[in-house]
Symmetry: C2
Subunit: 373 residues, 2 copies
Amino acid sequence: MSGIMNGHRETITVGLGGRAYDIHVGHGMLDRAGQYLKPLARGIVPVVTDRHVADLHLERLLQVLTNDGIAARPIVMAPGEASKSFAGLERLCGELLDMEIDRTGLIVALGGGVIGDLTGFAAGVLKRGVGFAQIPTTLLAQVDSSVGGKTGINHPLGKNMIGAFHQPLLVVCDLASLDTLPARELSAGLAEVIKYGPIHDMGFMEWLEAHMDALRARDRDALAHAVRRCCEIKAEVVAQDERESGLRAILNFGHTFGHAMEAGMGYGVWLHGEGVGAGMLMAAELSRRLGLVDAAFCARLRVLVQRAGLPVRAPVLDERDNAGRYLEWMRVDKKSQAGEIRFVLIDGPGKAVVRSAPDALVREVIDACCAPA
Amino acid sequence: MSGIMNGHRETITVGLGGRAYDIHVGHGMLDRAGQYLKPLARGIVPVVTDRHVADLHLERLLQVLTNDGIAARPIVMAPGEASKSFAGLERLCGELLDMEIDRTGLIVALGGGVIGDLTGFAAGVLKRGVGFAQIPTTLLAQVDSSVGGKTGINHPLGKNMIGAFHQPLLVVCDLASLDTLPARELSAGLAEVIKYGPIHDMGFMEWLEAHMDALRARDRDALAHAVRRCCEIKAEVVAQDERESGLRAILNFGHTFGHAMEAGMGYGVWLHGEGVGAGMLMAAELSRRLGLVDAAFCARLRVLVQRAGLPVRAPVLDERDNAGRYLEWMRVDKKSQAGEIRFVLIDGPGKAVVRSAPDALVREVIDACCAPA
């Protein structure tokens, strides 16, 4: 991982040997997308997006790419988690095949986490692998999902259950696209920003505590610093453990509980980041009950999550056996081994550990953290 | 690639570094499957098969695995290409998730090419990758599809269009399972056997000419030699070019035309091997018209394909514009680049080359090789 400052722009490299790639971060980067994509483009270049993002950015991007001599063609999916499904994948693959995209082609994902995950997976399995580039337009996608090559779709039995590791060839983060992001999605993205503090960098957590109001007010410098620092940490972790044989799992802090919320309520009721926000507080509480962190740390994290505009109480998934329902969903988590749930816990501020916990203790945490019915 | 003889059994290794794996070939190997799988098994081991294969081999395999202390559980799919679809994949993934298979698990594919391709792809994308073993029960699967890690499903717009490279951990070929194979499927498998001659080993082609009657009569020694030699050649090619950046494409001899037949008639009307059989003759004829081989070679290959019990005339896909329809289907072939079809051609007996050809010449070949309407 390395960072090169260049005026208001910065380039971070994800060091993966022959598959290394750059993340370009800056304001107005959409206007430069053509120059970054041009060396990779060949024939028709599909730009996959959703209706909401299309209304905001598609016309401009197509214009920019056309000006650079790229034969860009849009594919517009329905917005929301429902597209991240077998049906959405089949439809997208059909459109890509209709465009006769071949193995030497380039597919562009323009949008948030759903579009990036779905498009990356389609690129990964179309003709057993086509190159793709990410142009993330949400905070969540810029600081997390567009980097690192995790792609996939949901299954009714679990979030992100079907997928592939398929690294992008390039990531272009235009901070200006955050200007039009709905407040709720900005907050959801802040959940993934916050997670990097407790698991890896308490200095960054302090910076977040000092700049949370600026971030929510979309202060350009604050957003630039947050996106850059998150991409740096993620690039560092992914370069060390691309396939999540160990270290990389720490990036799932809050996700084990959060995925259960998303699946249990039905995808799209809560945004992914909202589940992660409440999920981090549950994971911190579980860490506390295991004696790994103190109550002061949990309280501090809770304040930060709340200031990000995120829910701090988890939803009740089942009025009769809420803890049982959570455990059921969490048991299908991808980190589970032989039916044993593995949690990303905080082992002292700034350090994460992946381990199991007694069911009884997990039940206590669920009971303590869930909103009254 | 190496071969170790051990009585009637033989082990061939696919040399892929840390992902190297063995192909065990022999009579009665199903009874030894437990001892081979035991070191890889962990928790519940799903055995994916289809109804036809289940009737023949499932009970015995489950008994063998249970005797070796493996908690095997069957998943029975509908027979035929229809299962190799998005719907089949979604159903299979659901069953695997229901069994709470985790990333450290093992999935077993028991059956022909459809079951192996589908199960391997499901294993490749379930939780972004679970290990799997192949127990191929058809000649086609034993000599080709179970080895090399190409997995995938069909799309209405093209054969094997959606898939992944996901190598098995082990392949167990029981030659005894060929005893119950329908004659039509034995012939289909012989198409993939024959292909190794023209593209790589004319000595093997001569051996096939001498032993084709024995193979069709299911002579044990003849089948043992054919399966072993095909696995050796395939292992050698895959070890050199796992991801098909070059050499590996020669294994697709006959497949560009064959896939067009399969897709154009609707999957399952012709068996895959039948398309490959007629497709090899078209590719040979195209090679001849490009001056790469002589008419005697084409006639010789035609006799061998016919003796294998395979069709030697290709089907008419469209009464009005048959050649146009073939070209349309072939243009979506995975080897195509920028709309240009790339054919595996014979560049002198025993040597393959991948290249394009003028549309007009391809049309002539299609007109010459297709059955009258």
